[in-house]
């Protein structure tokens, strides 16, 4: 069967980066006040993220690497080791793990403005052979000085309410041509619109 159908649950969040006050999850992260914006806001979003079942695998999306923190480290008055440890984007994965209890396969991917789109496309293409029940995609992006977007996307074969439906035709070869850049994808998902993921894929709101 070459035509396959999967479902994508989406959960978009805009989180305020306020580390002046102990957050609700402070007991789970000893040095919460030393987290950079991405790690802090992902911890906040993860604390409230309600997922019935933990994923089998996580894909962490770092479309900007950790450039905000890299610059903060480079330009801070005093050299700060607690900032330096956040200059690896995969480190923010700990925020999700400590809140959810997830331990397992995690890969941190970068592809500039197409990081989310390409990650969804390649994993949907591979999904039937991977033997996994659910892949979780996490993307954290700085919006401005005070706010970060922290988004969760769950890919599985189980349809849930308000999910997107991704249909792929595996008789066609995979071509890396992501059509909607990540910011466009996010805007469309926010509005509940169909997305233009890839020439071989459709990503539509399930009926």
């Amino acid at each position: 069967m070459s035509k396959l159908k999967y479902f994508l649950k989406t959960n978009l969040n805009t989180i305020e980066f306020n580390n002046k006050v102990a957050p609700s999850w402070a007991s789970k992260v000893r040095r919460w006040n030393q987290l950079d914006g991405e790690s802090f806001c992902l911890a906040e979003a993860s604390f409230y993220y309600d997922s019935e079942v933990l994923p089998c695998s996580v894909v962490l999306l770092a479309s900007e690497g950790s450039l905000n923190t890299d610059r903060a480290f480079q330009n801070s008055a005093k050299v700060s080791p607690s900032l330096f440890v956040h200059t690896l984007p995969n480190v923010r994965m700990l925020s999700y793990s400590l809140m959810s209890g997830f331990e397992g396969e995690m890969i941190c991917l970068n592809k500039g403005k197409q990081t989310l789109g390409l990650a969804l496309a390649q994993n949907a293409y591979m999904f039937d052979g991977l033997g996994l029940k659910k892949i979780l995609f996490i993307q954290v992006t700085k919006k401005d000085e005070a706010f970060y977007t922290c988004d969760f996307f769950e890919l599985s074969k189980t349809q849930g309410r308000d999910d997107y439906c991704i249909e792929i035709d595996k008789s066609k070869p995979f071509i890396e041509e992501v059509c909607d850049e990540d910011n466009i994808l996010r805007e469309k998902i926010e509005r509940g619109e169909d997305c233009h993921l890839n020439k071989s894929f459709s990503m539509r709101k399930s009926l």
């Binding site: 996580v58 995969n90 995690m106 890969i107 591979m126």
Partner: protein
């Protein structure tokens, strides 16, 4: 879908070698590439930081004296190594490419005025433009800290198993510049003198540069990637869990494909890394009921960050080719560790069929792979 994943070609450039054969001869001869690093072109802040400790940075740097931007340097080196790797001619097939790195061209983007960019993606795109490769259907950067190589190999293996492509080029490289040196110095992770893996008197890691190009494919070759597993544990940012649970999970999974004849450990020579990795390797020796010899390469090459696992994999393939295990040289203390058969001072001649290669990194990343002669 299970498919045999072959290692079709490999090549590297390190601080101690221009190519993979020279890497082997340096490892065998106990030759290290570690030397003082000039701070001549460093920004004052980083220079003053080292000077405040009355300290000179040391590293195993690639000795090609390139003076351009970080992007130009990385892409020039990647192209050089990639072109030297010898690809078996095969029918036209879909090809993927993965760039493994921790910071890419970061030194070019640290000014507060510049646009927000992905310092890895820029390198990969520039490489692709200049390399003009055919049939590329997917390209991607991976940044799993010091286990990026294992992450890239795991992803490449998945791509081939899924039929997304038949061949995957994995390229890797970082630049050891003031950003990374200052950062590791602030963590007090650096040794002032030398990298002494699995020795009682070890006192930290030494950074190193390496550029690797390795191709996985479904086309039969002499060596195969029997398995590769990556695993994130939820413990702490800069140290693994005391039992090394994450690394044990990876390593115990890959050795299901067969007990290794030897291991090349991550062996950064920080107190914690070697303590935990030793704990895990000793448990793996118990698990497979075999005290396979253990060695490490970072005393020669330094810690090559995004290239670390690939350098060790290429060293492993050379061990298989020569049926010989390179030693950890100048080692005195052989009694403090749980693992058996660390290869100290003298190379070991041994018939070899398979090698375990392990990696750990910040953020709780772990990776293990098993490479073996093709069956």
């Amino acid at each position: 879908m299970q498919r045999t994943i072959y290692i079709e070609s490999y090549e590297c450039m390190t601080g101690v070698s221009k190519n993979s054969e020279e890497l082997w001869s340096s490892l065998s001869a106990g030759r290290s590439g570690v030397a003082p690093q000039s701070m001549e072109r460093w920004a004052p802040r980083s220079r003053e930081y080292f000077e405040s400790y009355k300290s000179t940075p040391i590293a195993s740097l690639i000795k090609d004296d390139l003076k351009g931007s970080a992007l130009d340097t990385l892409v020039t080196r990647l192209l050089q190594v990639f072109k030297k790797a010898c690809f078996i001619k095969a029918p036209d097939c879909p090809v993927g490419i993965i760039y493994s790195s921790t910071k890419g061209a970061i030194e070019d983007h640290l000014s507060l005025e510049g646009p927000i960019v992905d310092s890895l993606d820029i390198v990969l795109n520039e490489f692709l433009e200049k390399a003009a490769l055919e049939n590329i259907v997917i390209s991607q950067s991976v940044s799993n800290a010091c286990a990026s190589s294992h992450g890239a190999l795991a992803l490449g293996k998945k791509w081939i198993e899924a039929g997304l492509c038949e061949r995957v080029h994995i390229i890797s490289g970082d630049i050891v510049g003031p950003f990374i040196q200052t950062g590791f110095k602030s963590l007090k992770a650096l040794s002032a003198e030398s990298c002494r893996p699995f020795q009682k008197e070890r006192d930290g890691l030494i950074l190193g540069e390496a550029i690797c190009a390795l191709t996985l494919s479904s086309f039969k070759s002499d060596f195969e990637l029997a398995d590769v597993v990556i695993f994130n544990e939820a413990h702490a940012v800069t140290s693994p869990s005391p039992e090394g649970t994450g690394l044990y999970t990876c390593a115990s999974e890959v050795v299901k494909k067969g007990a290794p004849d030897m291991a090349i450990a991550h062996g950064t020579a920080t107190y914690t890394n070697d303590l935990i990795e030793d704990e895990v390797l000793s448990k793996i020796q118990e698990l497979v009921k075999k005290d396979f010899p253990i060695t490490a390469a970072k005393w020669a090459t330094g810690h090559t960050l995004g290239s670390s696992g690939l350098v060790d994999l290429i060293a492993a393939i050379n061990c298989l080719k020569h049926n010989k295990i390179f030693p950890i040289p100048n080692a005195h203390d052989q009694e403090s560790f749980k693992g058996k058969n660390y290869v100290y001072n003298l190379a070991l001649d041994l018939p070899l069929s398979s090698v375990l290669v392990t990696s750990l990194g910040f953020g709780g990343v772990n990776g293990a792979l098993l490479v073996r002669r093709a069956q």
